[in-house]
Symmetry: C2
Subunit: 405 residues, 2 copies
């Protein structure tokens, strides 16, 4: 039978998969977010990852928010977000909702893959169970599930889904099912790595992100110490980097939908099993503290120089992305804006258009504005280049993270 | 004036420096440990880093514990240990004692370098002050101080002092002093990296080690979770390692005189300055917990299989070294040995001879001993090779860290 893929969730993870697969298959791109679907149909990606031309639909593929359109599909890939609640417990609702939607349409021999970051066991013990319950079919007998951790790195043009190593995990399945899975994933990534353990693959993904969070937390702590003791952090890192095994991470404002969230996923599972595993959360505290540290440092500068017009440069959660989810730079800007002793502006040439009005962001610089203080917080390539214009002016340049080193 | 070097402290750090310099200069190797001096004079290195031939004295150099012998020296390099007290506060006594010893002999234009790992400020604010006080000379005017962080990695034949990047830090000094420093350090390492900040160099060194401790702590925590949830840790790390930026660290028993100590140094300075910097200590807790986790895992095996003869393989603090300082493997062995329900033996082919009697260690295997259980804890190359003999026997092999993966 012909493979008919459906991507559920068209964000940073789903859209690239849809675009890869629609080159070869008539693919359905499904999202419950109607405005996202409308934009994509109009060839607009507000995440600024794809241009109009790249969003031209191929092979009779389609974007839809109508569940009926997924009826004809037989290979589902779920790429919905896995956030945490305010109390930091895993919020599996998007995953459960997506699973329930497709469950109504699952037929015999259908294949369902998950790409969302989860703790080990979610795919088999939560998702597959829901499909069984709704569809009345049996997992690994009537339908087949798998896990392929997403390794999307927004803003990174070098590591795109087509050229990275992509883990594809599934248990023993009939020969023709295995063939289908491999065929589909080979269309997505050139290098696929097969695993027969879904749980091991789930774990591998979540630890990749926690390791990064921990390492950034470490340099952030050292950065704070250096700032407070007036030691030159940049020089210190340069010296340490002359050792063969020193790992060069940059301090900064850790935001987004992965690093600030994933440690809580694995921690939740450990806690449920009465395993004391608090180390993985230690990085969270440091990385969150950075917001306050940077905010206070800016306030000090403002007071010291008696600034009236302050420009925060960068509001998204990291360099060269449009996304503001969990952005500490945006938080800092919002906190400063509340202070009526000075005027705070924010410039971000990368930010998703829909936030420009909402947060009063400048997406280009009005050179007539004479800022007293400019603080770059997010090192978008374009932003750093454009700010150069101010460097020889009277504006005080507070490059706290030494982006211009 | 002729350069006459003196190395103060002839352990893992000082001995290699002495051997490098004595190829070119008449060098004094000083240590207050009389038995170490006697052994070295007899061309014996109980650390097993150098063989008899390598310890032949050259250029009228000498080993001594007599302070009078250092009188003729004018270039001092201090390589004494920097441990912590039981309450984990930095114990600067060895550094202070060494400094006081040389201070009596410091003359005008002498040079003093420190290689011990410290927190930023110790060289200039503690050591130089002592020299000034004792010698009545002025630092940076009469005598000159510097810092060159040691990067000795015991058991690692690839990264030897002669072929690594060696940081050499000193402030502005007269031309001829600068020349002397560069000449001496070029004899030690082929690649020297000059820095004009002693504090930055002190900081760079201590963060290198803390970063390593943190990263091993992270994999240790994941390792414990995997063991408790019966997930295959080795497979998970293999999968994660297929990501371009995953850092492959191995879980294990972290001991020795650096990683278990250095985080407390930087932490002490931060605390003194009222900086909350607890993240760097978080790794310590996890890495120390490993002793208990491994101990309990072994006890479980012993009880389950009702073992009577247990062999712990490896007692030093890490692979291919003779040193047992802060060795968790040795602690585990000692704890097991106290239990009279079974007999515990320990095999270590690398351990410093002086511990063989003290801890009743086997340095070769008596194949007639039919052990019920063998637990490799330290992956000495020789040890892993020799244990292979048991792999097809009836002995239960509990390779907890998957050394034979």
């Amino acid at each position: 039978m012909k493979i008919s893929p459906c991507i559920v969730g068209l964000g940073y993870v789903g859209l690239p998969l849809f675009l890869r697969l629609s080159k070869n298959y008539s693919t359905i791109g499904f999202d419950i977010n109607k405005s996202r679907i409308k934009e994509l149909k109009a060839q607009i990606d507000l995440n600024s990852e794809y241009n109009k031309k790249e969003l031209i639909l191929k092979n009779n593929s389609n974007f839809t928010y109508n569940t009926k359109d997924i009826q004809r599909c037989n290979f589902f890939i779920i790429t919905v977000p896995t956030p945490v609640y305010k109390n930091k417990k895993p919020d599996l609702r998007p995953l459960i909702i997506a699973t329930k939607i497709i469950s109504k349409y699952i037929k015999k021999n259908d294949i369902v893959f998950y790409e969302s970051t989860v703790y080990p066991g979610v795919t088999e013990e939560v998702c597959a169970k829901i499909i069984e319950k709704v569809s009345k079919l049996k997992s690994q007998q009537d339908f087949f599930i798998g896990y392929s951790p997403e390794r999307i790195n927004p803003g990174d043009s070098k590591h795109q889904v087509e050229n990275i190593n992509k883990i594809v995990a599934f248990k023993k399945v009939p020969y023709e099912i295995k063939n289908k899975i491999i065929n589909v994933y080979k269309k997505i990534s050139k290098k696929i790595i097969l695993s027969n353990s879904i749980k091991e693959s789930e774990t591998s993904k979540v630890i990749e992100n926690i390791q990064r969070d921990i390492n950034i937390a470490f340099v952030n702590e050292i950065f704070i110490i250096c700032q407070k003791l007036k030691l030159n952090f940049t020089n210190i890192i340069k010296l340490a980097s002359t050792k063969w095994n020193f790992l060069r991470f940059s301090p900064g404002l850790v935001g987004g939908h992965c690093l600030p969230v994933d440690p809580y996923y694995l921690y939740a599972l450990a806690k449920k099993n009465k395993i004391h595993a608090k180390f993985m959360l230690a990085g969270r505290r440091v990385n969150n503290e950075m917001e306050n540290f940077v905010y206070k440092s800016i306030i000090k500068k403002i007071n010291f120089f008696n600034c009236r017009k302050v420009l925060i440069a960068g509001a998204t959660y990291k360099a060269n992305v449009a996304d503001v989810r969990n952005s500490l730079a945006l938080n800092i800007y919002k906190r400063l804006k509340k202070n009526k002793n000075f005027n705070t502006y924010c410039y971000d040439p990368m930010i998703n258009n829909k936030y420009i009005k909402k947060y009063k962001i400048l997406n280009n610089l009005n050179y007539k504005k004479n800022f007293d203080l400019i603080v770059p917080l997010v090192p978008h390539t374009k932003l750093l280049k454009n700010l150069n214009l101010y460097k020889n002016s009277n504006t005080i340049f507070f490059d706290i993270f030494d982006f211009y080193k």
